[in-house]
């Protein structure tokens, strides 16, 4: 069989790429090896541990078990796309502040899963955070500080939103 190459178009962190991929190439390999976005990690390679979590078309997915060809036409957000102007965003900063990182290997996937959780549920309970991150394994932290970091990020977001709300009140149309 002659080697098939598949032309795809994919938008990663708001940047559009035209690529030719192999049939067996995964989205994870595409991100890491072709686009040099090595923040997304390969760990179990079978959709169990969540280290490879990215947001694809608005949904958290395991990039290790998605073919690059399947990602044709999709929009992908990776850990690199979360940062703002080269600085950690609120959620990333909350992980740093809470000490929610030890070896750090699970952290990018964990943060992407937390990002997805907070977008769908801005005020989660501890139980909802644990449920929301249950597809992501961490062997170091014991999860306690990770849950605390997500709570802190949710609180910071709420404060920022209410401040913005107060400031904009005078100009807000009736």
């Amino acid at each position: 069989m002659s080697m098939q190459r598949i032309r795809i178009s994919i938008t990663v962190n708001a940047e559009r790429h035209q690529l030719e991929v192999d049939p067996y190439e995964t989205l994870l390999e595409l991100l890491r090896d072709r686009l040099d976005l090595t923040g997304t990690k390969k760990c179990c390679g079978e959709g169990e541990c969540g280290a490879c979590t990215v947001i694809m078309n608005g949904r958290a997915v395991n990039s290790c078990i998605i073919l690059a060809a399947e990602a044709d036409g999709s929009e992908v957000l990776t850990i690199e796309g979360l940062s703002e102007g080269g600085r950690p965003n609120q959620l990333q900063q909350a992980f740093l502040d809470a000490g929610a990182v030890q070896c750090g290997f699970c952290t990018p996937g964990m943060i992407m899963a937390a990002h997805y959780l907070l977008r769908n549920n801005p005020h989660p309970t501890d139980e909802e955070i644990r449920e929301g991150l249950s597809g992501n394994l961490c062997r170091c932290t014991g999860y306690g500080r990770i849950v605390a970091a997500v709570q802190a990020a949710a609180a910071a977001e709420a404060t920022a939103a209410s401040k913005a709300g107060l400031e904009s009140t005078p100009e807000a149309p009736k």
Binding site: P23, E46, A69
Partner: protein, 307 residues
């Protein structure tokens, strides 16, 4: 990963023509949460992977028409779990779907994929059987035109990984009848950990308007095992506990649990009865709720199970 041809048909006729051409060498791809892993591990070695996500005839919505709800083949489990329609009419299926894999997996994995993977431990299959689901299978007739047929899910499975969907055919979606009231259905599952784990045992139990109780037991046989009490006895609120145990034992006897990495055979046998009591009680209570809330009968029934 070994190489294969990646094909993306745009309609059903094209997809079926590919399936016909490659036969057993073709593997249909929806979410890929099982297939891609198997290919990577060398457990599957397809000549062609046929990505069906561009096939319009394989629906991506959940629709109610008349007394039937259809779940399209492209509907992923997280959309099924969020659907008001599913939550209202098929709570036990929603409970089962919400425990499959992880959030990341449910965002990709489809209901039809979970069915066609034909794992004896598939979580969605016992409730689907308890709700009397059917699948629509499409193939080509002698003239090469697509034809569709419906197969009750209870008759669909032949063994682990084997179904009545031939290698040249495709499953387009799932049909669920709207249950006549009062109807109650419950799902139960035994695992070591809640997330990202396969069931040691899973099962569903439904009691229909006529009082027929249907159990579907998973992970205790080569396929999900259905067992029925047609007499209506199990649905009676004042059935003596000893008789209920006798009936449950006779239903559970249809299973053939084995020892494997997740559990020993004896533990499975013991837990089958325990979980069966639980789901029966919950199905009964849900049915009772539909027929007008708590009654003397349901209190008595609950008492019979003191755990």
């Amino acid at each position: 990963m070994k190489s294969f041809e990646y094909l993306r048909p745009h309609n059903l006729a094209e997809a079926l023509e590919i399936m016909e051409r490659y036969g057993a060498g073709a593997r249909p791809l929806l979410g890929g949460t099982d297939l891609t892993v198997r290919i990577q591990k060398g457990q599957a070695d397809p000549a062609a992977v046929v990505d069906l996500k561009g096939v319009g005839e394989i629906g991506e919505s959940i629709d109610a028409r008349g007394d039937t709800v259809t779940v399209g083949g492209r509907v992923v489990l997280s959309d099924l779990v969020r659907s008001d329609l599913m939550q209202t009419h098929y709570p036990a299926l929603v409970e089962a779907a919400s425990i499959v894999g992880s959030i990341q997996i449910r965002n990709r994995a489809t209901l039809v994929g979970n069915i066609c993977n034909a794992s004896p431990a598939a979580d969605t299959v016992p409730p689907l059987i308890a709700y009397a689901a059917e699948v629509t299978v499409a193939g080509l007739d002698e003239k090469g035109a697509p034809i569709r047929s419906r197969v009750p899910l209870e008759d669909f499975f032949l063994g682990p990984g084997e179904t009545r969907c031939a290698p040249t055919e495709l499953v387009l979606g799932v049909q669920l009848p709207l249950p006549s009231r009062p109807f109650g259905c419950a799902f139960g599952r035994l695992t070591r950990r809640r997330g990202v784990d396969l069931a040691t045992i899973n099962m569903a139990c439904s009691i229909d308007a006529a009082g027929i109780t249907t159990f579907a037991f998973g992970a205790v046989g080569p396929t999900v095992v259905a067992a029925r009490d047609e007499s209506g006895e199990l649905a009676q609120p004042d059935l003596p506990e000893s008789r209920r145990e006798e009936l449950l034992r006779s239903l559970v006897e249809k299973t053939s649990p084995i020892s494997d990495v997740r559990s020993g055979e004896q533990y499975r046998r013991a837990m089958l009865l325990t979980i069966a009591r639980r789901v029966l009680r919950q199905a009964f209570e849900r049915r009772q709720y539909q027929s007008g809330g708590q009654t003397q009968g349901s209190k008595h029934y609950r008492g019979g199970f003191g755990e």
